[in-house]
Symmetry: C2
Subunit: 336 residues, 2 copies
């Protein structure tokens, strides 16, 4: 166990980013098509090929899940992944054709200091399709956290956002992992202090080991929002090696949103497109379809909360004037 | 401000219960029809007349919202409220008829020690329709908490559940309140200790003022579920005096679920029917449809988290052998 979503057998993750644009892409690649679903609970989502993931829809499994910066411009990214996977012979067979199933969600990182003429009337092609092809080529068991991939340009209301991950194992031995690009409308930390909202769920000092404040002052509960409606979205994937059907994957995605609720304040606002994909690589059956699933759901929320804090904890600041500080810049002397 | 949902102008709340059956009903009654919506995020819900609350449906406002025990048997309760309201001339006019709009959700309290022959093959009429008529007649600005109304028979995995409420005000002066019957599949408290998961959100010692544990031991994170699939559900209403449309009310309901996520572990499981209604009594306009709504959403999650803890904090144990202890029985010497 390396506390990565890739502890779940059958998943590799790859990142790519464009430093000048300050945007990037993360791809979760499944060795075999994985049963998947999705739950969109934020008010301003940006997605591609997610309708097929509803339980009543026909397509049952996905080849990859893509997270991208670039707001809706970034929705080209999945095409880059499809190109690579098509050449590898992957995809849903329809006659002689094969269509790789690559659902995607985006986050807004257009105003973070990077050069993005394609989003400011200057034309040119956004980099995300190219970055996505690079990311899928780089997919491996190990991958960078923090200011990396889709988290490269991500921010929160008070600190640099980033890419996070975590994993856990159920009492019956099923693996559960989370991958998240944290670009929240609010904060992962309590007030102006170093503590993470997700502190109760932390394991082994994975995001500094500071614990929780014993009492939260009222001042720390005053609403704080990042400027600009639509300038936010936290995108997540939870995955397990359990054998689940789409209906169960949908439940896993819905329950895992509680991890966003516990790690971010606020989450699920009119101002964000908070979304969770859930995927099952199907290596180990569950023996109790209710209680085993309930435990997977509980752990999915836990690992997602931890992954959110870790994404911010591991981030480094962008090298632009006025860029938000990273957690370690502000508080690093107090944590790991 | 009395820290009740009835701090929101235009709402009264009434309770009624049957001690022998150990079940009850809570009614939130709106002085004028309130714009309302609902979000069902649990996996095992029991509802009545909720489809009409989706934003694309025609009926725009509700006369009352009902919470009831009795599992699906309790879905008769709304009929009792409709009878009373019909005699008061309330309801959606269709020709000469008036149909009071009274959506409802139930919770499971059938195995809590009370006598419920109607749920065990013994026949007879469940008490909820009658209790609901009593509850709407009793509706007032003040109402009992804890073991009262729909919370009368409610439980959690380790402690007696109950009816909770809380309120708050936005920076622009809009009121936000929550009402909840806590019957969670999991716990509102951390491990075997007295601390509530909702502690970071507590105001003025409303549920004992103990704060949060600085570090949560791994043992406190081991999954704990109440026995019996379907034996759970936490039902909530969040309300505001803001003028909202149904679409905004839906967003408020969705966002408020984060309060359940923060106060309960787990929430939104395959084993519960966790549901949040949202209602707007429409006394004060919002000036910014994005940020004002975002603040209402944030506070709705806060007040709901607080209301959940308070419902358990205020509960008293049922007088049956083997009944779950109340929080104050176990920890009362440490809190309020």
């Amino acid at each position: 166990m390396r506390n990565l979503i890739t502890d779940v057998p059958g998943i590799h993750v790859g990142n790519a980013h464009d430093p000048a644009a300050a945007s990037g892409v993360t791809v979760a690649l499944f060795e075999e098509p994985a049963v998947a679903s999705v739950a969109v609970l934020g008010g301003a989502p940006g997605v591609r090929d997610t309708a097929a993931l509803e339980p009543e829809m026909t397509v049952g499994a996905v080849d990859a899940i893509v997270f991208s910066g670039g707001s809706a411009f970034g929705l080209d990214a999945a095409g880059g992944v499809m190109s690579v996977l098509s050449m590898r012979g992957r995809g849903f067979a329809i006659g002689a054709a094969r269509v790789p199933i690559v659902p995607q969600a985006i986050l807004f990182d257009l105003n973070n200091g990077g050069l993005k003429p394609w989003a400011h009337g200057g034309g040119g092609e956004p980099p995300h399709r190219r970055l996505a092809a690079e990311a899928v080529a780089a997919a491996a068991p190990d991958f960078a956290l923090g200011t990396a991939g889709a988290g490269y340009g991500a921010t929160t209301a008070n600190l640099k956002g980033g890419l996070g991950t975590a994993s856990a194992v159920t009492r019956k031995g099923h693996l559960v992992g989370a991958l998240v690009a944290v670009n929240a409308v609010g904060c992962t930390t309590v007030g102006d202090g170093p503590h993470f909202w997700a502190a109760p769920y932390e394991r082994d000092g994975e995001f500094g080991g500071l614990g929780a404040p014993r009492h939260v002052p009222a001042s720390a509960l005053v609403p704080r929002f990042k400027g600009g409606p639509g300038a936010n979205t936290t995108i997540a994937l939870v995955a397990t090696d359990a054998i689940l059907d789409k209906r169960q994957a949908k439940r896993l995605a819905l329950s895992a949103h509680d991890g966003l609720a516990r790690a971010l304040r606020p989450a699920h606002a009119p101002l964000d497109g908070d979304i969770v994909f859930a995927a099952a690589t199907g290596r180990r059956p569950i023996s109790d379809p209710i209680y085993d699933l309930a435990e997977l759901c509980l752990l999915a929320a836990d690992v997602l909360a931890r992954a959110c804090a870790r994404g911010v904890y591991e981030a480094t600041a962008l090298p632009f004037p006025g860029a938000l500080p990273a957690w370690k810049d502000r508080f690093g002397h107090r944590g790991g």
